[in-house]
């Protein structure tokens, strides 16, 4: 039996077109993705009288698909699809719809050898599927997946039906794009709010200090008490340095983002590199009442890095360790394979397990330090990673979790003499 379900003719087609208009009006940019998929998939399933439906997202790089939504799929198909990403050629209708960007149909699976191989064979046979329509999920030129409509009897597909299925799928793909763009905007808005919080918080005390010191300067008599006068000027200078460093961290990020870093590598003894940073941080360490031990490496090794960038990166990492340590920080240089690794260990707050992925992200501050008195701009580790990577190095860390300290590792290849 070769039955065309579009036998309702023009009125049936018009009805489906009206429903397409309705469905589009039901979508909203702030709709959760699952809800959006369910809305479209259930309509497609019903309007095209399919026995079952599967909606797939495509990973172009891996050439695999993931099942995102299924309607009346068998348990074995669900089990098979839920376990892993599937190579897109396992289900021919997905592959051809995605590759061609247009609707691809098989009127009777028995007539084609395409379904005689691969994982689809057993699964579709079990579901007694006889005809298939594969519809690409295409938003403009970007094919982001496909919809498989399965039928339990051989059937033909006319051009109106294919065009309509494509129109539904296009509407869904565009809605998905809109939902994602909106989510991105919401995320940007949140980041903007965070930046405003960070900047206002970081600027409020220094500005108050500057203002107060100016009041003191106005009252002071430079001729009568020059010493007092100069001390106030020094205080202003210190606040100025603090503000400059904060602004510089933002400017550094801008340089990184715009690809304006221009590393000038040179051969250098890693001991010297770290020793200078440790010495510079000694006052900061003393203020925090934290002990710092430094173990050099023997063997006369050299690394090939941009000294300015890498020093600042190491500075950010050790500075962080001191800031969050309870009592002690240790910095040790060791040789691992053909690399020099700088290990910076603290006994501080640690990094909550669920947040460890985000440490090197821009503006990221772990939840347990976001409101720390010295909560940073959230740029230090981002800058450190970019500077280290630019100089051919790697940075990573281990943390047993919150309250259990953190060890950061910075590694650079050893330069042969």
């Amino acid at each position: 039996m070769n039955k065309n379900i579009n036998e309702g003719g023009a009125s049936h087609l018009a009805e489906r077109l009206i429903m397409l208009g309705e469905i589009s009006s039901l979508t909203a940019v702030d709709m959760p993705q699952d809800q959006l998929l369910a809305l479209f998939a259930s309509k497609l399933h019903a309007l095209f009288s399919a026995r079952a439906l599967a909606l797939w997202f495509y990973d172009r790089k891996e050439k695999t698909v993931m099942l995102k939504y299924g309607h009346d799929l068998s348990d074995s198909m669900r089990n098979y699809c839920n376990k892993h990403s599937i190579p897109s050629d396992q289900f021919p209708e997905i592959k051809y719809a995605i590759d061609s960007g247009s609707v691809w149909t098989v009127e009777d699976l028995g007539d084609t050898p395409l379904y005689e191989q691969g994982d689809a064979k057993k699964i579709l046979k079990e579901m007694e599927i006889r005809a298939v329509m594969g519809v690409p999920l295409r938003a403009l030129t970007n094919v982001r997946g496909a919809v498989s409509l399965y039928y339990d009897h051989p059937r033909s597909f006319d051009s109106d039906e294919k065009a309509l299925a494509l129109a539904y799928a296009n509407a869904l793909a565009l809605s998905l794009n809109n939902v994602e763009a909106y989510a991105h905007l919401v995320a940007l808005e949140r980041v903007k709010g965070e930046v405003i919080d960070i900047v206002s918080h970081q600027f409020r005390t220094p500005i108050a200090t500057l203002r107060g010191n100016v009041e003191l300067l106005k009252e002071a008599n430079i001729n009568k008490d020059k010493n007092e006068y100069m001390q106030i000027v020094k205080e202003i200078e210190k606040v100025g340095i603090k503000l400059r460093m904060f602004v510089e961290s933002f400017l550094n990020v801008k340089a990184i983002d715009e690809g304006n870093l221009d590393p000038k590598p040179q051969r250098i003894d890693p001991n010297v590199l770290v020793e200078q940073v440790v010495a510079e941080l000694d006052n900061y360490r003393a203020q925090h009442k934290v002990s710092l031990t430094f173990h050099k490496i023997v063997g006369g090794y050299e690394v090939y890095v941009d000294q300015t960038l890498v020093s600042e990166a190491i500075m950010n990492v050790i500075n962080n360790a001191i800031k969050y340590a309870k009592t002690s920080v240790s910095v040790e240089l060791v040789k691992k394979d053909e690399n020099i690794v700088i290990e910076v260990k603290d006994d501080g707050l640690g990094i909550p397990e669920g947040e460890q992925q985000m440490i090197f992200q821009k503006l990221y501050r772990a939840s347990n330090v976001a409101r720390h008195p010295e909560a940073s701009s959230g740029l230090g580790m981002y800058i450190a990673k970019r500077y280290i990577n630019t100089s051919g190095g790697q940075v990573w860390f281990t943390s047993a979790g919150e309250g259990k300290g953190t060890t950061f590792y910075i590694s650079f290849p050893i330069q042969q003499p």
Partner: protein
């Protein structure tokens, strides 16, 4: 006449020094650089007034105030909160304590400080 004794609890070194310069011309000033030190000094010397920051290491201003209010010796000591934080969570906590005064840091001038001290501490 005894001088009014003020405990300043502020972790930012430059702001702490500024407050010291403003206040010491008129009052006796005790300085603490974090909440823990602040609690210790408050209990040791029972000041006439405490000025405290909120976000500080070891013990926050919120924890410090809670401790001072819970201790009979210090429960009546007026407290001025020096506010720099913009985080809603902190602002809510600050308001829930009903402190004697909340002073945004950028409004600090010598006169503002002196007026507040006079208002909150009965003349000795």
């Amino acid at each position: 006449m005894n001088k009014i004794k003020i405990l300043v609890v502020e972790d930012d070194e430059q702001f702490r020094t500024l407050l010291q310069r403003f206040l010491e011309t008129q009052y006796e000033v005790i300085l603490a650089s974090d909440g823990e030190e602040g609690a210790k000094f408050a209990k040791e010397s029972v000041p006439d007034l405490v000025m405290t920051d909120i976000l500080m290491p070891k013990k926050t201003g919120i924890e410090l105030i809670r401790e001072l209010r819970d201790d009979q010796k210090t429960s009546k000591v007026p407290i001025i909160i020096l506010l720099a934080t913009v985080y809603t969570q902190d602002l809510k906590a600050v308001q829930s304590f009903n402190p004697d005064s909340i002073l945004p840091k950028e409004q600090v001038t010598r006169k503002v400080l002196f007026d507040l001290v006079e208002k909150l501490v009965p003349a000795k």
